[in-house]
Symmetry: C2
Subunit: 321 residues, 2 copies
């Protein structure tokens, strides 16, 4: 099997590594001359992490090559993944270039975090094969991927795509209704805005917010998410009772929740300064290394608690399903 | 050392277990006749979890007793923890009852998730010893605790309280500016509102949202939080550059982010029904058991990656500091 990776920024490189380490051949198209060097580095990190997570069950790696044109990348590919910057004009232009070379049943997946697939597909002849597959950084390690079809996406293409993603060790969640930013980035944006207010108003620093998250609700959300956690919070009285109690608080006058903060130079400076104080003693590579070691350990830990029907612990921990 | 636990709902029971299992004697005051039975059950869960996390370094348990009055609970206590329902009138009435029996240097900590300590302390003679210590459920297991002093809180009481919390294996974060709901519940409320919209608008179910969270950004936030994660996302170009790029998206017309959803009967029914479909095959006890096993495994995993200066992995993993 062969994947064409169109655009090799952080997300595209992550996809390339995930495909390679699950045995696919990968052809990368990106005109930035720095791409091979950056991808080699990401591949080293990913190889170390995935071997720690899956060994000895990981298959042999596929082969990596680079294409000089979109045509040579896409011809013969069994999967095409577009991971260009978030500009709909740019994405549509490249999707239009891809179309003539796309095999007839091949999924054409966009990593877009913001655009609806129907907006992306407008006027494109490849629309029936186009869908959104929005992953999470680091793509080679985090299992979740949001899969969104457009009004034109063929049902069999969507189904096949879900199967391929599961074979790549991912946990695809189909989002059945199109909205800007899908599901995850809606949630992330809401929390991010509120965090910006907390910084701007001097309530907490970047480090204090991170500490409260990772020693508090971050640990909860790594294993149960929001609703199952609150279900427990409600106790034996049940979710219905819990929600009835919780409802009135939504109308409390926490006005900052509903304003949009202005990201002006002063706020940017403040956050960047606090972040430097928090993490500036480590390079990005060192932070990535720490993150990956932590994620591997967390995912191995969740595998170890594989309870009951394994509902909480996931298929993604076995790449051979 | 002896702690007085005033109010033994889910949060009060969690505090009681944390104190007991770290060697403190605990006196509980709660007029609900179901309290001893419920607390015994929580204590079994907590004992199992903390032994799995800390053994063999956990000290012997303290003794547990029940008081018939606030006076007998508070007299001789080295820490008083109030965990009553979120009603400021109720809390103030009980804090007023506690005051005459409070030792002169003893912290009087409120578990309130919503009220500012200065609002709680208004007109109370115990104000100099009153502070907010807002924990996370399950309190016996999750390390984070938000510590907020009022305008009247004595500096030495605040400092001593931070030390005690660290000795209880917690990770206290001092919130230096008072706002309604402190830090964590501001962030939680923002994400919760957005999640309600996603359910109400039929974009995703409770289970799909939970899956996207726990296989995606939940794993990220269990170990690095928000800002360090984004720092990595920004790459070598740095946080300043990342923020400049990200800024414009804040003004995008994602209007649902800034509306307040109405928690009407239809929405309550929808969420409760989806939650039942997701988790109704398990009792709350079974869910708690799964949660605790997962949390213990995650925390052990983070201890195992104790990198560099140990900044990412925390003091809370060694209760003997």
């Amino acid at each position: 099997m062969r994947a064409a990776i169109i655009g090799a920024g952080v997300i595209g490189r992550g996809w390339a590594c995930r495909f390679l380490l699950h045995g696919w051949d990968v052809v990368v198209y990106d005109q930035d001359p720095a791409t091979p060097g950056q991808l080699n580095k990401t591949l080293q990190q990913a190889t170390q992490a995935l071997h720690a997570l899956y060994a000895p069950s990981l298959p042999g790696s596929g082969t990596l090559s680079y294409a000089e044109s979109i045509a040579t990348a896409v011809i013969g590919a069994d999967w095409v993944q577009e991971s260009l910057p978030e500009s709909i004009e740019l994405k549509q232009a490249v999707l239009r270039d891809i179309a003539p070379y796309l095999g007839q049943d091949v999924p054409l997946a966009s990593s877009t975090s913001g655009y609806k697939p129907t907006a992306l597909a407008a006027g494109l002849e490849c629309a029936p094969q186009l869908l959104v597959c929005h992953p999470f950084n680091p793509v080679y390690l985090l299992p979740a991927v949001e899969v969104v079809g457009s009004e034109s996406t063929r049902a069999d293409v969507l189904t096949d795509a879900m199967t391929v993603l599961r074979h790549l060790g991912m946990f695809p969640v189909e989002v059945r209704r199109e909205i800007d930013a899908h599901v995850a980035d809606r949630l992330l944006e809401a929390l991010w805005r509120e965090a910006l207010w907390l910084i701007k108003d001097g309530v907490a620093t970047t480090e204090e917010i991170d500490d409260i998250m990772r020693h508090g609700f971050g640990l909860r959300w790594a294993q149960m998410g929001l609703f199952e956690t609150y279900r427990i919070g409600g106790g034996e009285a049940g979710m219905h009772h819990f929600l009835e109690q919780f409802g009135p608080a939504l109308a409390w006058p926490w006005s900052k929740l509903t304003d949009v903060p202005v990201m002006d130079a002063a706020l940017i400076d403040k956050i960047a300064r606090q972040s430097d104080a928090q993490s500036g003693h480590l390079s990005i590579s060192e932070l990535e290394q720490q993150r990956d070691e932590n994620l591997v350990a967390l995912m191995r830990a969740l595998r170890s608690t594989n309870q009951g029907a394994g509902r909480l612990i996931n298929d993604y921990l076995d790449p051979r399903l």
